[in-house]
Amino acid sequence: MTPSRQTSSDARKGFLSCVAAGDTWRAIQAARALLKEDPSIRQLSFIRHAVEKIPPEKLSLTHFRVALLSSFSIEFIHNPLVVYGLLDGLRIEIYQAGFGQFRQEILNPQSGLYGFAPDVVILAVEGKDWVPSAYHQYLTKRESGFDATISELRNNVADLVRIFRDRSNATLLIHNFAPPIRPQLGILDGHVGIGQAEVVQTLNAALFTAARVSPGVYVVGYAGLITRHGSLHWYDERMEYYARAPVAQEMLGHLAAEYMKFFRALTGRTKKCLVVDLDNTLWGGVLGEEGIHGIALGPNYPGSAYVAFQEEILNLHKRGVVLAIASKNNPADVDEVFEQHRHMVLKQEHFAQVQIHWKPKRESLVAIADELGLGLEHMVFVDDDPVECQQVVDALPMLTVKLLPKHPEHFVRALLDDGLFDALSFSSEDRRRGELYRQRTEAKAFREKYASLEDFYHDLAMQVSFVPGQMASLARAVQLTQKTNQFNVTTIRYSESELTARMADPDWLIATVSVRDRFGDHGIVGLMMGQVSGGEMAIDTFLLSCRVIGRTIETAMLAYLCDEAVRRGVSSLRGRLVPTAKNVPARDLFERHAFRKIAELESGETSWVLDVNNSAICWPKWIQVVEETHAQ
């Protein structure tokens, strides 16, 4: 065998032995390395076959069921999809609907689609298959106009979504439509009456409208993908006519990567924190050697590329991504740059954690994760030094490490192209998250001053609101169920459509908890969900964001539940605690509030009950309840 083939064979053996050893993170790392070395069809095929042979309990992968409905042969995406799923900790199982059967699968209540019980359904229909009037029939249809075409699509989509949603709570992802590659009127398109490109744009706008009004329905930016990669590269005419597989093999990886952005957001795998190095990352050159006036940061190349990179990082901050620094430098030098350098876009206040010292970077990263209360798997580390990156990769395999490319003008692509920070919600809490994390650091310092806990609670001047779940808070409530791991008694993850269904059910009580204190308004930070049946209210979900635990807000929440129970004529509250690796802070919730333990399973799960008419739970006197509302 040639030398390269030998290394390849060793690398494959290495991957297989990580799998055999049940080491999830190392197996994922090994698979990633295999793909980096050789991203070919045969390599994807090898890894996919290997993944499908892994016994379900061998690795800690989350089972994720994906249904693909298409108007063309989309089967060729299965290999990259399963492999990319592995890289993000998912064991993807695919249901492939028959060619062109997408309508039947949705309309038929007995279809294989519903039997499969998918987590996600992807509707990948090419525009020319769904709305031929806007494509090859354009010239004929022009005379009569396109109003009917557009309203027909609107109705079609609304009907399909409605019927689908009646039968399934799965998330529905709908491709929007590709721009016409060669408008039939050429350069005249759009200049004589409504152009072909414009019709497609209107259709796509209608798709977004339909998605916005339906919980759990999202548009996959297929048109955007094609625009980025170019129609001429995207389509393969030979395979289109020979195999009804119009998307070029090389492009299917990009489509799979786009799906992964949604899957990550849906399974709580969105990255929440970006940790950056400083030298040759936020500016060109090494600060300790060049000094503040020698580093490259300003209107001329390469400084302009670094300024652009900082601007994109600031945009991430505005989206709700937490920023941190891990750099080997002298703190005084760095302070000087932040305070004095006129071209610094990022300021110290944008960073929730700053680790500047000469110790190994892995220590910084662990400290940052610890201080922020975030898992390492939710962090991305960016550095220009391959040695630093490799050391971190070896020490912390669950962390996503991005080695920056050689030239600063490519940094933005390297950081943003994978959509690691893409989420499926954007609330005011997200916009303010940077500020909220800074408040938390201040609050922590504040706490250290007080001798008595009660003095501390009083001084926090907490104001709490309990509001029944409603559409306006739906996205935030869903986000909380997906992301809250520490103070969460059952860790049940909800999707938008599942939560909407519960909200409409009169036997379910759903309330969000908002907190304001002397440090500011934290927004919605807690969620309670209870089901009433047979004189009992069973607590399904009880969670609090880690930034407000340890201040008796949970006691106020239980007091609210007791009041609600009494109002509904219910005599007892039932709680369930499912212990996980992360929810230690919630483990003693029921015990602390004098619930009686009634069962304990081998798994460690416990059940508790409280007589609401005889309970000792009182509203904490240091908490002011400003708005307590109850569902009618």
């Binding site: 069809i41 089967e75 020979y242």
Partner: protein, 77 residues
């Protein structure tokens, strides 16, 4: 060359390369269907940096066929 082809077939069809011989064919192999056939063709095109005519694709139905087509392509360049 033969070994290289066997390894590619092994990867695409999920077979042990050592179990592949001249008689391994689309008809006789469960995992070799019309879908994996196309994957196989695309993988060969990637590996050898060549592009097959549809007529050639239709002929490459066994290991021996593939060997023949690939060899004749390499010789004509």
């Amino acid at each position: 060359m033969e070994q290289r082809l066997k390894e590619i077939l092994g990867d695409i069809l999920d077979l042990d390369p050592n179990s592949i011989d001249g008689s391994t064919s689309k008809d006789s192999t469960a995992s070799w269907d019309s879908l994996t056939h196309i994957n196989l063709v695309l993988a060969l095109e990637q590996e050898f940096q060549m592009s097959f005519e549809v007529t050639e694709i239709e002929l490459m139905l066994s290991f021996d066929d593939i060997l023949q087509v690939v060899m004749s392509r390499l010789q004509s360049t």
